[in-house]
């Protein structure tokens, strides 16, 4: 419609409409793939259908994984938690483990965080410019293929070592990963017929502290509250001290403080017997107020 037209079939006549071509358009006819070598076919719908079938197989496997393994969720983040073993997602483990090696950590950490990764990822990024030969088959490109195989093997090895080390650490310290611990607790609560415990203290019913100004509380504050929560209300998996008198007698509490229990360390050699006796007596008094 570049030129002014007197054609009566034109709906609107624009003067100087430069963009809309009147002719020279491609007709809407699918290309004929017989001109291509081999059994070429159209992307839509022929090939896409086949690719979708592969996709469905993957999707079914994926959904089975999703349904059978719920996404993990631990306890709320607590920056004061000192016993947590930090662990990145699995695809960063090789890098994480690599940085623990002696010549790329400590004084040489720059080599580990910048030097080696820059060379490795740089080489990967620039692979087409480093591997310039005309051959495409991997066995005719021995240097490139060997380097890639070595890189894959070392990544797999480092990932395995990192995971193995983490499992050993867990076993050594008697720690159950938080998301598993949380699931177990929820299951036990469900078996007892209680509604699942709500995380994040805000919704919990707070049990008041009895005799909060007793002189022994200064010893308790110094020794116990780093783990048991500054307000005596517990901290993630660590149980609350408020209301502990409902669960244990004075003698049991003295034993727990002296010898430790589960993940709790023993305080028998850190506190005097007299202090432990007073602590146990004070803790035994911590009962939920009866209405």
């Amino acid at each position: 419609m570049a030129q002014h037209s007197n054609d009566s079939k034109e709906k609107v006549v624009y003067v100087g409409d430069s963009r809309v071509k009147k002719s020279g358009r491609r007709p809407n006819i699918p290309p004929d793939y017989s001109a291509f070598p081999g059994k070429s076919e159209a992307f839509v719908p022929n090939f896409l259908l086949k690719e979708w079938m592969v996709g469905v197989v993957v999707l079914v496997g994926f959904l089975v994984l999703v349904v059978s393994h719920p996404a993990p969720l631990g306890y709320p983040a607590d920056p004061n938690n000192t016993s947590f073993i930090p662990m990145p997602d699995w695809y960063f483990l090789f890098l994480y483990q690599f940085l623990k090696m002696p010549y790329v950590s400590g004084d040489y950490v720059v080599l580990g965080t910048v030097g080696v990764p820059l060379i490795m990822f740089g080489a990967l990024l620039c692979a087409p410019f480093l591997d310039r030969g005309p051959e495409r088959r991997f066995y005719k490109r021995p240097i490139a293929s060997t380097l890639m195989f070595l890189a894959i093997i070392s990544c797999v090895y480092l990932t395995y070592v990192a995971w193995d080390h983490y499992q050993d650490q867990l076993e050594e310290m008697g720690i159950v990963p938080e998301h598993i611990q949380r699931e177990q607790e929820a299951r036990r609560a469900a078996e007892r017929g209680e509604s699942p415990q709500k995380p994040g203290g805000a919704e919990e019913k707070q049990i008041a502290i009895v005799d909060a100004n007793d002189p022994i509380t200064s010893v308790i504050q110094a020794n116990c509250l780093a783990c048991h929560g500054s307000d005596y209300q517990g901290n993630g998996p660590v149980p609350a001290l408020a209301g502990v008198g409902d669960k244990f007698s004075k003698e049991e509490l003295a034993d727990i403080v002296t010898n430790g229990r589960g993940q709790m360390p023993a305080f028998g050699d850190r506190l005097s017997a007299e202090e432990i006796d007073q602590i146990a007596e004070w803790l035994a008094k911590q009962k939920a107020a009866t209405e």
């Binding site: 358009r25 076919e41 090939f47």
Partner: protein, 223 residues
């Protein structure tokens, strides 16, 4: 009916060349698993895109419930996981999809590498693909913090410490990511913004470039 609508649009916008390029182009025999079963290795790229679409969709649904602040983040994820109908499925898809997209991308990269498909004239597409790889790793790193449980918190703390040890620019990177001296409220909102806006934007742009280049250059020939 569809034909009439297509023609109506085509008459105005001349979309036939675009349609031919996007949808109706040739797929050679050597990449077609219906003709050669071993050609399934050529599906990893498409599957990566498929999982990426799942990630985008499930992520969009997650943001309907997720609250990016340190008081409510954990509680909102917990609510989504245990109370919302199908919430565990949507979150599970996003969680496992993040791993699966890395696996698929890794396999796709290895296929391209070992078939030498990155050679002339497709060097630029390899570079763009590697950039997509790095963006995906960035998405994984920033997404890991968002549930705000201990695992997320301490992994991020260590990750930022590692970034901080880079000479000269390390402290700036760490400050930029953390938004302060500690991993806290600012860190969570920044990671949320990076995870939901910045990196997906970069990812979509890079994917567009990746696909346009494939259309321009076609699939590399059989070995």
């Amino acid at each position: 009916m569809f034909k009439a609508i297509y023609n109506w649009i085509d008459e105005r916008l001349d979309i036939t060349p675009m349609w031919r390029d996007v949808a109706d182009h040739e797929v050679p025999e050597h990449v077609n698993p219906a003709h050669h079963f071993s050609a399934f290795v050529y599906c990893f790229g498409g599957l990566t895109f498929f999982i990426t679409v799942i990630q985008i969709l499930s992520g969009m649904f997650l943001t309907m419930y997720y609250v990016p602040d340190i008081i409510n983040a954990y509680a909102s994820v917990d609510y989504l996981q245990h109370k919302v109908a199908f919430g565990a499925i949507v979150r599970g898809m996003h969680h496992w999809g993040a791993s699966l997209v890395i696996v698929m991308m890794f396999l796709h990269t290895l296929r391209v590498f070992f078939t030498g498909a990155y050679k002339h004239p497709r060097e630029m597409n390899w570079v763009v693909g590697m950039l997509i790889f790095f963006v995906m790793l960035g998405l994984g790193f920033t997404g890991y913090l968002l549930p705000w449980d201990n695992k997320a918190y301490f992994a991020t703390q260590v990750g930022i410490q590692i970034a901080e040890s880079v000479p000269y620019i390390g402290p700036f990177i760490a400050e930029l990511l953390r938004g302060g001296d500690i991993v806290g409220a600012q860190t969570l909102t920044r990671f949320f913004a990076i995870h939901v806006f910045f990196l997906p934007g970069a990812l979509l742009a890079l994917l567009a470039v990746h696909f346009i280049m494939i259309r321009r250059q076609g699939i590399s020939g059989p070995l």
